[in-house]
């Protein structure tokens, strides 16, 4: 019996290791003949007997449990013949299986039983069971609690188990699967045969996500004032991101007031904020606006929202600035090619908060007189001197600190392909750099047939955001003109360690001097090198070769990212600042 257990445990561990490998490759597998396990959402294919789809772009934890990070939750489905099975029955068997497993995990004799139980309970709090009868955490089910199914829980003819467990403990999955099978068989149901699994991508719900305001906000009836306040607050944050500023959110809401002087035609709205179709539908669902025979108006909730914005404008604007200062957490794949060789100069200042002992022979620096006197007095006493003397080792100096100011000129591709999230990310980077550092920021955009100085070098956030508001992607990619304009801006302004950052997702297709747009841009890049400006290109894989050439011409470096999103851009600049600092 003992040997059996040991062997079962070993098998579980081996299976766990394999699962770790497959999951790492974004794959799911069939476990036994009736189970499917992965980190993704599973779908049964109607009309195709025995087939299960694994949706590789739908993380199970994120989609089914609203987890924030992907890869946290293992998704196990065990299929059975039509019939009812109570989740409590499943939960019980799972709990026993876990208990058995954790015991084997640490079979040390001194291992106290209480700890095993605690360990098992800990797991039980992290495992959810869903059957057609209801759902709940193993722990709760075990204690007789049961939650009803949500309409999203399409659990027909299978038992779903969601397990929050680290990849080092996947060994627990096999015993859980076996326990589920046992529960199914005990309920008098046959196990269903999975004949085929297919990895596929689910269709993206929205073709263009960028204009869609994503809010966890639902219509809230009878909720506490606290919850309502947080919801409103977050909704305003999202709206401000969509419309550009609090003022514009206000203007938008006012355009639905009964006051005809504030109302706007669809056309006027479109010119100002682009396509609002999807948003309007969403706002209607949220209960902010309603359509009537006389036109669209704010609902009571909508009016209250407007009131809220009016009364809290200062705080809301401050919170937006706060969010811009924040460093995004997750970042994607970034490749760096090349190095900058330009020298940087730093600014030194004295830190009166910290003194250090004199430790070199240059005798330079700012002598900290009070600290030196105190030290001398103390030392004299400890040296048993009868009167105060100052020795060399008593000398204290203020510490010197330095930082490297880097004034940034952002050269943003504003051709049509940059519309949406990419544009927003580039603008975000500009604001983030300005709000989180002490440096000046300028923005040059290039689109249609020429480049434009959108924002001259400034430290003023209002000037910057006003300039960015007018960045509306469209048209061609006149890169050469963009580079030349930026070089001129840098040359004509007093700046510290200027950096020129190019953000583009395409290839130049509008020339400046000749008929060859690409050649012109390379030539323009040489001017960057002549001016000894640090040059950084940020682009995507598809234009890698050309941008490498461009970076080389400008004696700069290239970053290739998987996506031109906020976190990637901010990450790159963070890294750049650190590198400059340590050089």
């Amino acid at each position: 019996m003992k040997v059996d257990r040991k062997e079962a445990f070993n098998t579980s561990s081996v299976v766990g290791n394999y699962l770790n490998i497959y999951f790492g490759q974004e794959q799911g597998v069939r476990l036994g003949e009736s189970g499917v396990v992965s980190l993704k959402v599973h779908q049964v294919v109607a009309g195709r007997k025995g087939q299960v789809k694994i949706l590789t772009n739908r993380d199970a934890g994120q989609c089914l449990l609203e987890f924030i990070d992907p890869g946290q939750v293992v998704h196990l489905c065990v299929f059975h013949q039509p019939g009812n099975i109570h989740p409590r029955e499943v939960a019980k068997r799972i709990f026993w299986a876990i208990e058995e497993y954790v015991q084997q995990e640490d079979p040390h004799p001194s291992y106290i039983e209480k700890d095993t139980l605690q360990n098992a309970v800990d797991h039980a709090l992290r495992i959810q069971v869903v059957t057609c009868e209801g759902k709940g955490l193993v722990y709760d089910l075990f204690q007789g609690q049961l939650e009803p199914l949500d309409p999203e829980d399409q659990v027909v003819n299978h038992v779903r188990v969601l397990i929050k467990v680290g990849s080092d403990r996947y060994g627990i999955i096999l015993p859980i699967a076996a326990a589920v099978e046992e529960a199914i068989v005990n309920a008098g149901l046959e196990l269903g045969k999975v004949r085929k699994i297919i990895h596929t991508r689910a269709k993206e719900q929205e073709a263009n996500f960028s204009d869609y305001v994503l809010v966890p906000w639902k219509q809230l009836k009878n909720v506490s004032s606290l919850t309502l306040r947080e919801n409103r607050n977050q909704l305003v944050m999202r709206l401000a991101a969509r419309f550009g500023s609090i003022e514009e959110v206000e203007e938008f809401l006012s355009s639905y007031s009964p006051n005809i002087f504030h109302r706007m035609s669809k056309d006027q709205q479109h010119r100002k904020w682009g396509n609002l179709e999807e948003n309007l539908q969403q706002f209607e669902e949220l209960g902010i606006i309603k359509k009537t025979l006389l036109g669209t108006f704010l609902t009571r909730d909508g009016k209250e929202l407007k009131e809220f914005i009016l009364n809290h404008k200062c705080e809301l604007e401050a919170e937006i600035r706060r969010n811009i200062r924040r460093k995004p957490k997750k970042s994607g794949k970034i490749h760096k090619l090349g190095e900058n060789i330009q020298k940087v100069t730093n600014i030194e200042y004295v830190n009166y908060n910290k003194v250090k002992r004199h430790n070199d022979d240059t005798w330079s620096g700012h002598l900290a007189i009070p600290q030196t006197l105190m030290q001398a007095k103390k030392s004299s006493l400890l040296r048993h001197e009868s009167r105060l003397t100052i020795q060399k080792e008593d000398l204290q100096f203020y510490e010197k600190r330095h930082y490297i100011p880097m004034d940034v000129c952002l050269l943003i591709d504003a051709s049509a392909s940059m519309a949406g999230e990419k544009r927003q990310a580039a603008c975000y980077l500009a604001e983030h750099l300005l709000l989180s550092g002490r440096e000046k920021v300028a923005v040059v955009t290039f689109q249609e047939m020429k480049a434009r100085l959108a924002v001259p070098f400034t430290k003023n956030q209002k000037i910057l955001s006003r300039g960015l508001k007018n960045v509306r992607p469209g048209g061609l990619t006149p890169l050469a003109d963009g580079i030349i304009t930026s070089v001129e801006v840098i040359r004509s302004t007093r700046v510290n360690n200027p950096v020129l950052i190019l953000i583009t997702d395409g290839m130049p297709n509008f020339p400046l001097w000749s008929f060859d747009a690409k050649r012109d841009a390379l030539e323009a890049a040489q001017k960057i090198a002549e001016l000894k400006v640090r040059f950084i290109c940020i682009g995507v894989e598809s234009n890698r070769d050309y941008l490498k050439e461009l970076a080389d011409c400008g004696k700069g470096k290239l970053y290739v990212v998987d996506d031109l999103n906020r976190s990637n851009l901010v990450d790159i600049m963070d890294y750049e600042k650190r590198v400059a600092y340590s050089s």
Partner: protein, 400 residues
């Protein structure tokens, strides 16, 4: 300065009033509660915190001990090794619970401790001795730091000290002075901080995230939410002005509160969070993948204190919900916070029970009739080790 009970309260600053009162109770009970009020200029955060000084109760210490030794638990270098009798012989005294400030330009020596200047410059009997700084002197009391974001930016050394002091409950402090033996003591202080995240160097969490996470609770100070509230505030301040002539009425209120603090601290010492709420909070933590275990501890500590302060008969789920934004807003993003709060709301509302009735029989029954899978699959326990896992490729080799 305006008396604490004369300050106007509204929905934007009420949480801070609650928190300072909760922190005083907790501090007296021996468990610090660290607060951080963030807000724009003019939101009254420092006014409220400084005014709360009036509410502080008395504590008992060994007579003359500058480290505020509790006669029952002496901790300072001078008293910690003494016997009960020796301590008794020294006698005790009552002092106001300490309330000391650290300015954003403070030096390490002032904060932690340094050589005692008075003693070393004594012409008759010069001595090299340690003078405990602000933190050790505030033991069993409160430290107030205005503009903590600037302090964290300009003085990483003091920040490190605060991280230790606030790292555990109780925290630790090392006092170092060249030539003298290092002193290490335990410290029990509640740190109250204030800052304006919109001014240089920006929000504390961007300057030093670790320090920001050390605060159990953070209040985003707000302004009154509607005109009605402002009108009521003005009325109130009118009344307050009239009552100013009668300073006695405020003194009486302070006295009454100080008395209540003692009772509430006693209640706090013996109150446990019910198991179901503990599990409830643990599940929020797991489901939303929160990183900071401190956040959960803060919610637990806060919920108990809040229910005691508000004289609730027992601790309710609403006490927990009330604490969530305070404990989480500086630790998670806005979406997550709203998701968490909305999730709790639906759980506590009655309609989830009603939902079972109209939801259950719809889709499921319709599709249950159809069998997607053939029965008769073998069980895992009947399969060999090599057969257990099958990949897509292995199941349908023809597709590859």
């Amino acid at each position: 300065m305006k008396p604490y009970f004369g300050l106007a309260r509204h929905d934007g600053n009420q949480p801070l009033f609650n928190l300072v009162e909760m922190s005083i109770i907790s501090t007296l009970a021996g468990e610090p509660l660290h607060l951080h009020a963030e807000g724009l200029r003019g939101t009254g955060k420092t006014t409220i915190m400084r005014a709360a000084r009036e509410l502080l109760p008395k504590i008992t210490r060994i007579t003359g001990c500058i480290y505020n030794c509790d006669p029952d638990r002496p901790h300072c270098p001078l008293h910690r090794h003494m016997s009960r009798e020796e301590i008794k012989a020294l006698g005790t005294e009552e002092i106001d619970m300490p309330f000391l400030e650290i300015s954003h330009s403070a030096k390490v020596g002032t904060v932690a401790g340094s050589i005692d200047l008075a003693k070393i410059t004594d012409t008759n009997n010069p001595q090299a001795a340690l003078l405990p700084g602000i933190i050790p002197q505030a033991h069993r009391g409160i430290i107030f730091i205005d503009e903590i974001n600037r302090l964290a930016d300009t003085s990483p050394e003091i920040t490190d000290i605060l991280l230790d002091v606030m790292g555990n409950k109780p925290g630790r402090l090392q006092i170092e002075e060249a030539g003298l033996p290092t002193v290490e003591i335990t410290i029990q202080v509640s740190v109250w901080a204030a800052s304006n995240p919109d001014e240089d160097p920006g929000p504390l969490e961007e300057v030093r995230r670790q320090l920001s996470d050390r605060f159990d609770m953070v209040v985003y100070m707000g302004r009154p939410s509607s005109v009605d509230v402002v009108v009521r505030m003005l009325e109130g301040s009118d009344r307050a002005r009239r009552e100013d002539f009668d300073a006695n009425s405020f003194a009486a209120k302070n006295q009454e509160f100080r008395q209540r603090v003692r009772e509430m601290a006693e209640t706090y010492r013996v109150t446990e969070l019910p198991d179901f709420l503990r599990n409830f909070i643990a599940r929020v933590y797991i489901k939303h993948n929160l990183e900071s275990i401190r956040a959960i501890e803060a919610v637990q500590q806060g919920a108990v204190l809040y229910s005691i302060l508000k004289k609730h008969k027992q601790i309710m789920i609403n006490d927990v919900i009330e604490m969530l934004p305070l404990a989480l807003k500086h630790r998670v993003d806005g979406d997550t916070l709203v998701k968490i709060m909305n999730g709790l709301e639906s759980k506590s509302s009655r309609d989830s029970i009603l939902n079972i009735k109209d939801r259950r029989p719809s889709k499921a029954t319709k599709e249950r009739e159809e069998a997607y899978f053939d029965g008769g699959a073998r069980r895992l326990k009947d399969m060999g080790r090599q057969e257990i896992i099958a990949t897509e490729k292995a199941l349908n080799p023809n597709d590859f």
